[in-house]
Each structure stands twice: as structure tokens, then as C-alpha cells.
Subunit: 203 residues, 2 copies
């Protein structure tokens, strides 16, 4: 933190708190009323800040959605990261299963936010959040391969097939209002372990 | 066709031709200018019909997009169906590979239309076109299982994982401007054949 913001901090709430309050107000309103129907004035009123404060940090409603998107991605990756870390460092099968199960469960619990931050840009075919998730998954896949647990042909293609498949079946689970995702995720993981040749190598 | 439309046919273009001209004009304009920027007046002008003719067949721009969507899905399913029919009826591996390869190739060739008709409704998590594609894929998967070529655990889940995976990697192929999809599709098919336990059963 720079020395000038240290000084600001004494007089008023620090920037991070203001930004947090604005983003939290915006997200609540987006969830309640939808993005279209929410105005910047309402966000300002809900956060209890002056108009100038909003525009000091955000240029537009789209800009605050971008910030929420970044936050959601970081949250999502963080949840997965934490869950995977609970597994033994050399237990690649568990890490893989936990990555899938936590992914499905977290998506089901948070899809209304997902839909707000990704709703508008369906066909951005290149996006950084996909790459961050792929990196995480690739780490597990490559770890397992190096340990001789399974084999990969084209690692990135495999990771992408798994990432997209999991996202897709989780969408269906949401549509079907699935409540217990544990069995569902286990079935998905078993299919992919077969794709990775895990069962085969284990025989 | 009813007798009254038989009579109409003698005097003027039949309804199907009119509808076709309007849909074709709309699709061309949507591709050129985008859906938002295209007005119904422009569609009417391009199709060379009277305003009343448009509203006789379509209530709104959204309504004509729905019709284009139905047409696109029928076209897409038809292309896949045709391609699969070129394979021997008992050659399930070829049918599976051809289904994937044709899917990827057709999507790459027609994604601008895909984006027009699906662009607005990303998060309709239940949609009929997905079910039609799944039915087609399930027919191949179940056929192969009955022939003892591979084994399925939960057939629909497997079909969904494959459908979503193929759609997702094809999106990436579009983003990367991939031109030759043959090798790419072969790699995808091989991974899924492994998931189906095909290699294993063949040994």
C-alpha cells in the first residue's frame, strides 16, 4: 500500500472497503432484479456512498460486472485449490475426483452469480477464466502422469474435454435441480479416469 | 397441404417460399449487420415483400430468430445424420468418429449462424436441440454397446459428457482459427473411445 493511501485510511474508509461495498451492493441488486433493471443510482444508494465515489472506482455498470467476474473466478479457483490441497500430495486420483466434485458442487451453489458475470458474453471463445481452470486441472493431470497413475496423449486437449464436459453436465444438473451431487460427480470422475486409462494401468 | 393453400398457390408464391425468402433475407442481414442493428423494415425490403406479409408469418424479430434456430438445428442434425449413414450399419467406431468429425467441421463452417440463433439464450439450461443431438449420439453409443464394441455405464451421462466436450473443444478450435479439423477430431474420438473402453475390449 502506498503512503498516500495510508494517510487516506485515517480519514475515511480505505479504497478496498469502498470497492467491496460497491461490488457487494451491485451483486445483491443484480441477483434481485437482474443486470438490465439495475441502475447505477440504485447501486450507489444501496452501498450508501456518494455518486462521485462510484465513478472514482468504476466507469460503468459493465465495468463493475467485469470486477465481479474477476472476483467470482478468483473465488471459484480458490475453492477448488483449497479442496484439492486437502488431499495427499501424491494421491492424484483423489485430487482429480475432488476437483470434479468441488467444481460441480460450487457451480450448483453459485450459478446465479456465474450467470450474471458470464451471461452477456457467451461466445467469447477465448477467455482467461477458462485458461486458469485448465491450468489447475492440467497440474493434476500432469502430476498423475508423471507418477505413472495414468497416461495423457494431448494433455491440453484432454483437460479441455474434461473441463467442458464437467461444465456441461453441471448445467444439466442445475436444470434438473439435482441436490446430492456426490454420486453424480463420482460417476463423472470414473468415466474420465477410464479415458485417462487409469483402470487399465492399475490392472 | 389444404385445398385453400392449393388455390393460393396459383395466384401467388406459396407460403413456404415466402417464409423461406423472409428467413433467408433476415439471416443474411443478421450475419452482415448483427441482430441488434437489423430492423424488420430492412428484412422486408431485402425480401421484396409487403410489410403485411412479414407480419402474416412472423410476430417479431425474435420470432424469425426462433424459426432460423429451428432451421439451423434441423440442418445440423441432417448433416450429421447423412454423414453417419455413409458408414456401414455395423461399423460403430466409424459412425462414432464420423459423428464427431462432422460435428466439429460443420460447427466451424457455420458458427456465425449458430451464434445468431443461440447468442441470446446462453443459459437456457434445458433446450431441445441438445436433446436431439444427444438422441443421435445415444443411438450410436447404444448400438455399439449392443454389438459388444464398447461398454456404457450411464449412457445418457456419457453422451452428455461427449456432446459438451466436443462443443467446447470446437469453440476453442474456432478461437484458434483451426483449418484442418481432421486430425483434431481424430484425437478427440480416440480419447472418447478410450473412455468407452473400446481399446480395452479390443485387446
Amino acid at each position: 500500500m502506498s503512503s498516500s493511501s495510508q494517510i487516506n485510511k485515517r480519514r475515511t474508509k480505505p479504497a478496498e472497503v469502498r470497492i467491496d461495498e460497491l461490488m457487494s451492493a451491485a451483486q445483491t441488486l443484480f441477483l434481485e432484479k437482474g443486470v438490465e433493471a439495475t441502475t447505477i443510482s440504485e447501486i450507489i444508494a444501496r452501498a450508501g456512498v456518494a455518486k462521485g465515489t462510484f465513478y472514482h472506482y468504476f466507469e460503468s455498470k459493465q465495468h463493475i460486472i467485469e470486477a465481479l467476474k474477476k472476483q467470482y473466478i478468483e473465488f471459484f479457483i480458490g475453492v477448488l485449490d483449497n479442496a484439492v490441497r486437502q488431499c495427499a500430495a501424491d494421491d492424484w486420483v483423489s485430487q482429480f475426483k475432488v476437483w470434479i466434485a468441488t467444481n460441480v458442487q460450487t457451480y450448483l451453489e453459485t450459478y446465479p452469480v456465474h450467470d450474471i458475470v458470464f451471461g452477456v458474453h457467451h461466445h467469447e471463445r477465448k477467455n482467461s477464466e477458462k485458461n486458469m481452470m485448465l491450468e489447475q486441472l492440467l497440474q493434476i493431470l500432469v502430476g498423475g502422469e508423471q507418477a505413472g497413475i495414468w497416461s495423457l496423449g494431448q494433455a491440453r486437449l484432454t483437460a479441455l474435454l474434461i473441463y467442458c464436459g464437467v461444465h456441461g453436465v453441471a448445467d444439466e444438473a442445475i436444470a434438473n435441480q439435482l441436490e446430492n451431487t456426490a454420486d453424480f460427480s463420482e460417476q463423472i470422475a470414473l468415466q474420465y479416469l477410464k479415458m485417462l486409462g487409469h483402470g487399465e494401468l492399475n490392472k
